[in-house]
Subunit: 459 residues, 2 copies
């Protein structure tokens, strides 16, 4: 008996070691393919060349849809299709103007960008005196008396002492999202928001605002971090400074668009679906290279890698390029709606993964799943750590896959290093040349490796 037990133990151990080393070998193959014959970088070059500045509803967004469909077709995925979705259609119009009208220094031009979704000032612009605040508390203290008829200048920087820049972004971004409506509550005529940038820069970062219901809409703009510091300095010199802003943005009627989907059909459990994804739309400045062209080409690359290495997934692996993450999330919401509509079929989403933190060097994955599933994934760390994937502590998946959470789908977010993300995010600087080929490829390989483990071992 003892002997049998011992043999069983040896067998189990050997079997486990063998499985482990087979997994290791497959992951090594994935990385070899991504790093030796990877196509993510050339795909990103194409996407950002043919369809830069892919804001929802724009001709470039339509070009990006066509590029994605065509690319996945050419790669020979089992099926490729478009999922219709109506999206907001906001346009920036003629370039913004902003001038600080000082007595001592004359007129000082500064760089601004209208916030996405903002109404415009129109050609006549708005000139008003300015009041600087750090947060909504300070705004409330000033009240209508201190704010009415003025432009509110929200100037709380991203906290540089937070190591994760997304945490610093999270601590500052309410000024951009809710600032204009908060200011409007007290009678402000416009809001200028310090750009969500990690560093001193001359260019502004755009991004969406959300108007509160039952509050009058006022124009919202972002000012570059350098010019926010300058404006603050000038306000110290002259308390009754006037600022002139002119924005020509407009909200047009919703426009038809699409999520783009491609898949490799599962060989054993085709009804079990693993989503790998990014969002296809970007802001209308720059090329949307890191945000989120990288995520899109990485998602496509996961499937391409599997095909190239002749890996036949048990489950269906689906690459999804969502439309409209930036100013509406309509694509992510629509995708989840369609999943819910099919909840009584045999189809089941077993996992959804998104890459929407830029094409930077790998750090790990975030997760939103049951403790059991999270622990299972953490047990795979020894297989992933050799590839720089060491951080599995963060929560969350990604904005577009968020709507799948209420349906019980385990979510995973590819987590690259965050230090350079807010140098480029939502700016003219988010261009192809800012993406490192190897860093992008390592991200695609990381997503493929985790997808493989979920497919082969189950969650």
């Amino acid at each position: 008996m003892k002997k049998i037990y011992f043999l069983l133990l040896v067998f189990t151990y050997t079997f486990a070691a063998h499985a482990q080393s087979a997994d290791e070998a497959t992951i090594k193959k994935i990385y070899d393919e991504a790093l030796s014959r990877g196509q993510s970088y050339e795909m990103l070059r194409e996407l950002t060349t043919k369809a830069p500045a892919r804001l929802s509803g724009s001709p470039n967004a339509a070009a990006a849809v066509e590029w994605s469909r065509h690319t996945m077709k050419e790669l020979g995925f089992d099926s490729v299709w478009l999922q219709p979705v109506m999206v907001p259609h906001w346009i920036r119009g003629k370039k913004e103007v902003a001038k600080i009208l000082t007595k001592k220094r004359g007129v000082v031009d500064v760089n601004i960008l209208a916030l996405g979704g903002s109404i415009g000032t129109g050609g006549q612009g708005i000139a008003a005196s300015i009041v600087e605040v750090k947060d909504f508390e300070e705004l409330k203290t000033l009240g209508e008396k201190g704010v009415k008829g003025k432009i509110v200048f929200f100037n709380r920087p991203m906290d540089p002492t937070l190591i994760q820049t997304f945490a610093a972004y999270g601590g500052a971004v309410n000024q951009r999202g809710a600032g204009p409506s908060e200011a409007a509550k007290y009678g402000a005529v416009a809001a200028i928001v310090r750009s969500m940038g990690s560093n001193p820069e001359d260019y502004a970062h755009t991004g969406g605002l959300r108007y509160a219901p039952n509050v009058g809409k006022i124009p919202g703009v972002a000012i570059s971090t350098n010019h926010a510091d300058l404006l603050s300095q000038l306000l110290k010199e002259e308390k009754d400074l006037q600022v002139y802003i002119e924005t020509n943005c407009e909200i047009l009627p919703d426009a038809p668009s699409f999520n783009v989907i491609g898949e490799l059909r599962g060989t054993e459990s085709p009804n079990e679906i693993i989503v790998v994804s990014g969002h296809l739309d970007s802001w209308d400045v720059g090329e949307g290279a890191h945000d989120d062209g990288s995520g899109c080409v990485q998602a496509i690359e996961v499937l391409r890698i599997f095909k190239a290495m002749n890996y036949k997934p048990k489950k269906t692996i689906r690459a999804v390029m969502y439309m409209n993450e930036e100013n509406g999330l309509r694509g992510g919401i629509e995708y989840a709606k369609q999943v819910e509509l099919r909840k009584n079929t045999k189809e089941k989403h077993v996992a959804a993964m998104e890459s929407d933190r830029g094409g930077f060097t790998p750090r790990g994955f975030t997760m939103s799943a049951t403790e059991e599933i999270e622990n299972k994934v953490k047990s795979w760390k020894p297989l992933l750590e050799p590839y720089g994937l060491t951080d599995f502590n963060g929560k969350g998946g990604g904005a577009d896959i968020g709507p799948l959470a209420p349906l019980g789908v385990p979510l995973f977010g590819y987590l690259p290093d965050s230090q350079r993300y807010f140098d480029y995010h939502h700016t003219q600087e988010d261009t192809f040349d800012k993406v490192s080929k190897r860093e992008l490829e390592l991200g695609a390989a990381a997503m493929a490796a985790l997808t493989f483990l979920i497919d082969a071992k189950g969650l």
Copy 2:
């Protein structure tokens, strides 16, 4: 007795927890200073502006010495001095020319850089037929019969499947260092070496060669990776291709130069010295921003952070900027020699740390010390991991501190992410704009944190 034991346990535990949280607080302070009021980035801007292309013996190298001395003086370090050292003085001369002379495509210009230390071809240049090899084995097989009178083209790429780019560099760089002399053994007239770059690029990577004793010297040049691929392709089309190269480099007599040293005097054990360091010289193309301006300003920043936060080190903390890492290591050798000359004094180097892998986002530290010391440092991981410092597995310290190893000094290398390093290394692209402010600052803080732990807790 039990009660006393219990109380002692509680006391010990409380004390340890307190010490831990005091260390945590100090490290947090270090990072706050580096990220909120850091000066490393502006120092690097100054150094790369005032003294780019700081090759040993050049006027720019002398300007870099003066900049370092002046900067540390201005920062009020306790002492700042120059340590004389004679260095090799190689100059590139007039820009290189290289042409592939094809029958089918006519003359094709390609980008090359003479290798540091190489003799020049002189104005008349060298034209010869070309033979491509992947390694020294293949060269040996060809022998004198296949090589004599020809230019040997070493074209083994850095292995892209190796995750750590330094490992890929290590696997390819013998072609550059020893290739020309190996080729000369079989009668080659020159050597063209594929650039040590991770990616397809049009610009070449220079770097040092070492002529073997008792072998005739032949010119050695690096060719850009794209042009290496092109040359290889053209060779497939026409076997008897001729290549013309012209280089105008010269080896001048050794020149006087200096290591630059600044220190904060220890308050308890001033004779115990901790070195933090980088090398001041760079290649003569680009600005030496990542290699190794970053390491220099990070070393200075460690001391500046301690001063700014009013941390009084127990031991002496010494910032060393070595001269001539790139083509001779004379500075590192001289520094170690001076340490050895003082071995019978009370002075003792308790640790030496170098940053010479670029100003990229932190990954950890490499170590070369006793197992006991390495385990002690690993026991500090919980204090460092929140800052992205998770990798303590690598061996080594840095080229310049290497000569301290035989003296028993524990060595530490700052280990940033390696993915982008070989995009810039030894090229015209190693410029200030390629350095991320936050990544550079995080590196300085990482070095300061480890220095603090060594100072406060001992090794």
